[in-house]
Symmetry: D2
Subunit: 303 residues, 4 copies
């Protein structure tokens, strides 16, 4: 499909022309020093072809995009039992907010805010060794992406472990409401490592094939499961800018503070985008704009 390749090239060029890059995440030392003028976009079509533009083979830290994979692994393991511990509603507060946990008695609003992701990982861990849960998540990511060349960057994980007081506060607060079953430090250690998975946009695009219901996807999760994950990504995937993303892009997406975005165009394509500078909501500045351009140029909006 020649046209898709051209579209990605045009997006790549416009992003570099506009030169509005945002600021890399400052609170994780290993990420703060990244050169922000970087961009990559990859899209896989139903036939399995992957089109790319920019630095599509440069691995980056997927951070919160890992919440999609952890959720998938957890639902695969315990099914709907997860929903007794986490909600499915978008909120209008920041990704690391703790306020709603108090009014909601320790039950996070959804699995894509930090508190909800910590509970999800805790449910996956379930008394096992962190490395077992991490092997399960990483194995799933590799299967979904169709490659074993995906790793956890331990330095990033350690870097976050030293600094992430906010996540520690969330974990202990959840524990105070009995909504963690493991030692908070073990759950957080697992969570920080899952966030430190590194992927390229090509790998990210490949990993979303089953969510996009592409013919080329490996048989990992059921259609119903994929649909529900997409629904959560659309309503909650960009934190307190999720409504805006749905309004402007019209596709399920999940962002990470590493600057990545996994974007799903059901039955059309699975897309990976990366640019490390962030906007005020913690989502990739250039990546968000690229997603809107792609939706405009392809008409892939689900609406």
């Amino acid at each position: 499909m020649r046209r898709l390749g051209q579209i990605l090239d045009q997006i790549h060029d416009r992003i570099h022309e506009e030169a509005d890059w945002g600021l890399p995440a400052q609170y994780i030392p290993e990420l703060a020093s990244v050169d922000r003028e970087q961009f990559a976009i990859s899209a896989v079509t139903p036939d399995g072809q992957c089109h790319s533009a920019g630095l599509a083979q440069r691995p980056f830290s997927i951070q919160s995009i890992s919440k999609v994979f952890a959720l998938t692994a957890t639902l695969g393991r315990i099914g709907d039992a997860l929903w007794t511990r986490v909600g499915r509603e978008p909120t209008k507060v920041a990704f690391d907010s703790i306020m709603l946990l108090e009014t909601d008695h320790g039950r996070p609003s959804n699995p894509f805010v930090n508190a909800g992701a910590i509970v999800t990982t805790d449910a996956l861990l379930a008394g096992r060794e962190p490395r077992q849960a991490l092997a399960e998540i990483l194995g799933l990511v590799r299967t979904m992406a169709g490659t074993d060349d995906i790793y956890i960057n331990d330095r990033v994980a350690q870097s976050e472990k030293r600094t992430a007081e906010r996540n520690k506060a969330l974990a202990h607060y959840l524990a105070s409401h009995g909504n963690l079953v493991n030692d908070p430090d073990l759950t957080l250690g697992t969570y920080f490592h899952q966030c430190a998975i590194e992927m390229t946009t090509e790998q990210l695009a490949m990993s979303g094939r089953v969510l996009a219901d592409l013919k080329c996807a490996p048989p990992t999760i059921s259609r119903a499961h994929a649909r529900r994950t997409n629904a959560l990504m659309l309503t909650c995937g960009h934190y307190d800018a999720s409504g805006e993303f749905a309004f402007k892009v019209g596709l399920p997406g999940k962002s990470g503070v590493g600057g990545g975005i996994l974007l799903i165009a059901p039955r059309k394509a699975s897309i990976g985008i990366w640019s490390p500078g962030l906007n005020g909501y913690g989502n990739s500045e250039a990546g968000t704009r690229a997603a809107a351009m792609l939706a405009d140029m392809t008409g892939w909006s689900v609406f």
Copy 2:
């Protein structure tokens, strides 16, 4: 399309078998006394055919579904200028909540919570007579539905006017932040009347054709406008149960406390559902379940 008719009949039968009806809205006297064991569903397909089951020709009070039409009229009149006064984010608070208005300095989160709808109607009114704005909304509804047989029930409007202290509080609070340009009583009077529009599920289904991008739709609003309205319906259309609705149904929808739901399956169908009993979020109890059944049986989920 024989199959769709059968599906609607099956849904109708299951709803009556399950006999789980919820409770009609108690705070509007005219609505409180409605018999709750009523149900209707209608779906229009791209070819313009309308399939129905149940009481599809019984008019009901569309209430908050009118917010979709008022938004459409307002965006048609002032365009994106509306967004300086209203946001586009889902919230996790009830439809008539006033809390977030305080932290957000009088700017409602989205046009589908009450405060946001009052601002939208205020922007449409813009110094004119209430009857002019109402004529504009009603005219739009009739055009979209392709029939002139749609009216405002003045008794319901008066009934609400007498009782709706919460909406009065919202209007005066908005005014205190300078986010109403008309006298609060005029804006509220217009709002209460727009909510008192009565339609059948057939008419409701017909009115959504343009949002669903059906071939049979009258040319009223642009595709971009329709997509954005659908995005808002999906993320915010069921108040603090919007995430849940997206998760279980996977289609843009807008509910009203009269028990109606307008449901959009892009390029597949436009659907009207009605059952007057409500669940705890103020959405039709049986109607919400019917929407989930329909999505399951047709595979129309956008995800």
Copy 3:
């Protein structure tokens, strides 16, 4: 007591030297245009002598100080039944905040925030004509102050009535929770008029004699009643700066946006202070500093 007169003179001089006047209340047109470089202080001692400095015979709008008198009148009429409708706790939110009403289901935190004062006045009104309730409050003020030369400024009341959208929002919100027994407009009309009572600092100081338990006080309310009113003034009398006022002044006090402060030094003196410019909390800027100076120079802190 010569020394007290000298202290008041010194305070008066320092206030004028410091020339830090704040800004008169902007939201009530009649008050916004007042010259802010004005100051008065009066103190009545147990023997009935009244010492003053500055413009002690200039009447000003007592505004929220009227909440003390309305509370006194209401407790006199219905006693502790009031506390089923209003709490007795300080809050950390502004005087006109509406947020806590939502979480507290329409029960104001205390009788000195606006919502609590509106409920208090509503309880006093109790189905009667507004002029009856107003006559009762005004009569009480005159008795407590020992003079009939105290009036309501109708122009100020009308001015506020036209502009006070926030108070209207509060009243309708209270009504939506069933915590108003009269028509919101009648209760608000009474409230706006009670706030428009005008007094001089001399009259204000005289009116507080019974609260201060001075020998010269007319027998109006019981000692227990006075003590509890003082307790409320100390914990809640300066809104979200009440803790600060207790910390720096150490005396029960009630401020009004007209720039007045009623200050009670139990068994020592009753004090009236006025300077129309306000600080960021809606309390008199110079008046608050004068209160702190007086407490420092006299050692009258209750602590």
Copy 4:
């Protein structure tokens, strides 16, 4: 003073007659198992005499009453610099609430809610060894009480350390806003040990002499410092029931979840009360009633 002794005996008898004991703190295992039908009250008069009734020589865990001593020690060391990190306003939320920390960007409302006390202890610790800060607090308590027979119960401290996830969440949240200068674990370790100080009501009453400005008090802190501490105790000393306590008792007081209350009647007496069962606000059920009886019977209210 014979009469005071009789009053305390009467209070003791009435408390045992009423037999309304509340429930001991459940979240600290070492405290949960305490027999709740215990009561003690002691009062020291200006001449240094200590009158008691009940189990006045039984040591109990002072818990949050230690916040008064830690505040005193910290103000003695760094003075008003503390107030850049902690506010002085009462709140209407529970003692262990984390919500307001988010809206206030990590600055606790006052030094008597848990978050504020943790910051206070952190400021006292200031890079030193926990045992140095603890020696300072314990030394101050012993000096104020005039006895060396006061110790920290290490078992209680360890018991709390294992369970207090809520306090850990507060500490890490404060750290995430840069409002802790020490490692959160060190600050918390110090805090848990300070809370585990054990005193009898006799010792507690003796320790409050300087706050009550009694002639018999050892010269430890200035009158101004004592007054301000008393003001904070009155407005914030009983958490979200502080207004109620001021209304009913009218004296500065600080409660602890061990069931103790330190009560200050300026220039009249310093009082220690203990009964381990708590009310819904985390304050001693019988102790709070005893404080109200004492104020009624003595007329010691500051108001």
